[in-house]
């Protein structure tokens, strides 16, 4: 059945880039298990040869002329950046020493 283990929840949390404690993993395993259990009701449906919906309206490609336009002002774009150096976004180390 669809019961999620604590380890599965921790793995999913890692994929989703969420720090998670042991206690939380247990709580979420229980709650997510109930939801995925409920999702099993979809298995009652025969979906052989049923196309998955990708869009509710018959929209295909929406094209426009490739014309250069003024973008947003760089200084304005940096207004919400917490840490910056010389007009660039600063982040912590990506590689360990």
């Amino acid at each position: 059945m669809a019961k999620l283990s604590k380890e599965e929840v921790k793995h999913v949390a890692h994929l989703a880039r969420l720090a998670i404690t042991d206690e939380e993993a247990e709580k979420f395993a229980d709650q997510l298990g109930k939801i995925t259990d409920f999702a099993q009701t979809l298995n009652e449906l025969d979906t052989t040869n049923v196309e998955p919906t990708s869009h509710v309206l018959p929209i295909v490609n929406v094209m426009r002329e490739d014309v250069a336009q003024e973008g947003l002002n760089r200084d304005v774009m940096m207004l919400n950046v917490k840490e910056q150096v010389g007009g660039q976004v600063k982040v912590p180390p990506i590689l360990e020493d």
């Binding site: 999913v12 939801i35 999702a39 207004l79 919400n80 982040v91």
Partner: protein, 487 residues
């Protein structure tokens, strides 16, 4: 009492006759908010200085240059970006975020001459049915302050019901405009997918999200939708379909209108009082010359499961942009970039948001994709076909908006599945992409009930005609909560 009991038409008459100025209307909104918002808790941010300045300038504009919404105050849900005005989606992760451009709908409000007075509380990232998932405050239902206003556009509905503003914008992914409109006794429209541009709406589930108007009457709702609707080069999913003059067709004539009532909408889980109010509403519509038949939407019971998988999958992807790098909250004291991502997101998101991100990530991951995501997309096709089929022979589908009236604050917060069940009657509509409105149709223990009218793709016009005819024949929309008295 307040001038906000008046309709947009009456407000424009008042302006014309010199009874009040645009500046007075703006002041009235801020005065009402000051008086009432300690109780209602609807607003997260106020636009007082700019709105006051804007109103004074607008009073100088000659009457012949003004449209029907010119000078009227409006509140905007906090997941719609407003240049220079903090926009948080009621999440800690966007604390202090000041947008650098306006959403297309906000631009259109400005073009129509509306005055944005502030930003409205919601469930964090629009995930919830009660506004209890806000990181900042719990909005209350103006009809009973112990009850929830619904969600996720709870404060959009509550602020209009409390008469703090005559208009608001909400967004609806699985019922987030209609369910709070029902709980708060106001009019809320979820337009056809693609009718209104989503540019500047912080995405939750992009294939389901739609912005829509909340008002105290149907005419004003139609007017506001007309102002915000239309194709937008910045949203390639917005539809290039002409926007009709909705209000021109509101003549009260619905003779020969073919109404379908799905038996699934009056079945198990729907409270007796709710069923009765809908049956009485159908009698009113029959009296106006409509015909009513029972139909079936056999895949309705699969909508909730399909919705939670699809909306959570899309959310897990959309919300990956919140990483603490370019805007919003950033965790402190981290060693490296991976830790920055993980700690920022763990500290910045609330539990419901985390639950859905994880459910979505799980549904999309290798090994579960076919069983969950693809299966849900196939179920969606079957649900949509149910609607297509009924609409071959009928003009509108009618049922309740929610299975009950508003529940008490705290009643469902610990049980996600019970909370989700509030949306069983609204979710299928988003999956099918069709438009639907909720209008007041009765009361249960002093709390409002809502009638849901569902239409064909891009046929908001027939929904409005039906809703307007019903409204003209009934008195429910004229009632106001007790808290209007004396304030």
């Amino acid at each position: 009492m307040t001038v906000f009991k008046l309709s947009s038409k009456e407000l424009q008459e008042g302006l014309h006759n010199g009874e009040f100025k645009i500046a007075d209307l703006t002041n009235e909104a801020f005065a009402r908010i000051e008086n009432l918002d300690n109780d209602v808790q609807a607003f997260l941010a106020l636009n007082k200085e700019k709105a006051t300045e804007q109103a004074a300038q607008m009073d100088q504009v000659p009457f012949e240059e003004r449209g029907p919404l010119f000078g009227l105050p409006i509140g905007v849900k906090d997941n719609i970006v407003t240049e220079g005005l903090e926009t948080t989606c009621a999440s800690k992760i966007l604390e202090g975020f000041i947008p650098i451009y306006d959403a297309t709908v906000v631009k259109k409000l400005r073009e129509a001459g509306m005055v944005t007075v502030g930003k409205l509380n919601m469930d964090e990232f629009a995930m919830g049915s009660s506004n209890e998932n806000s990181a900042y405050k719990t909005t209350k239902n103006p009809w009973n302050l112990n009850a929830v206003p619904g969600g996720s556009s709870g404060a959009s509905a509550a602020s209009v019901a409390a008469g703090e503003v005559p208009f608001s914008l909400g967004s609806d992914t699985g019922g987030s405009i209609r369910q709070p409109a029902s709980y708060c006794g106001v009019v809320g429209m979820k337009p056809t997918y693609g009718r209104v541009s989503r540019f500047g709406l912080v995405a939750f589930a992009s294939s389901l999200d739609q912005i829509g108007p909340i008002t105290r009457n149907v005419y004003d709702n139609a007017l506001l939708l007309e102002a915000i609707a239309g194709v937008d080069p910045n949203d390639s999913t917005s539809a290039d379909v002409p926007v009709p003059n909705y209000v021109a067709k509101l003549d009260g004539d619905i003779k020969g209108l073919r109404i379908a009532v799905p038996k699934e909408y009056l079945g198990e889980g729907v409270k007796e009082e709710v069923k009765n109010s809908v049956l009485q509403a159908l009698e009113v519509l029959k009296g106006l010359g409509a015909t009513v038949d029972e139909v079936s939407l056999p895949h309705s019971k699969y909508a909730l499961a399909a919705y939670y998988i699809l909306s959570s999958s899309e959310a897990s992807s959309n919300l990956s942009r919140f990483d603490g790098i370019r805007y919003g909250f950033r965790a402190e004291g981290v060693k490296n970039l991976m830790e920055l991502y993980k700690e920022t997101r763990a500290q910045g998101f609330g539990d419901e948001v985390k639950r859905r991100i994880m459910l979505g990530t799980y549904s999309l991951s290798a090994g579960t994709y076919d069983a969950y995501y693809k299966k849900a997309q196939q179920a969606r096709t079957l649900i949509k076909q149910d609607y297509d089929k009924v609409f071959e022979n009928y003009d509108v589908i009618i049922g309740p908006t929610a299975p009950t009236a508003a529940f008490e604050i705290g009643a469902n917060i610990d049980d996600p599945m019970t909370m989700y069940a509030n949306d069983i009657l609204t979710i299928p509509i988003n999956l099918a992409g069709v438009p639907a409105i909720s209008i007041p149709c009765g009361f249960d223990n002093g709390l409002p009930l809502g009638l849901q009218i569902i239409g064909k793709h891009f046929d908001e016009e027939t929904i409005y005609r039906t809703a307007h005819a019903y409204e003209q024949a009934t008195e429910f929309h004229k009632q106001t909560p007790q808290l209007w008295e004396g304030k």
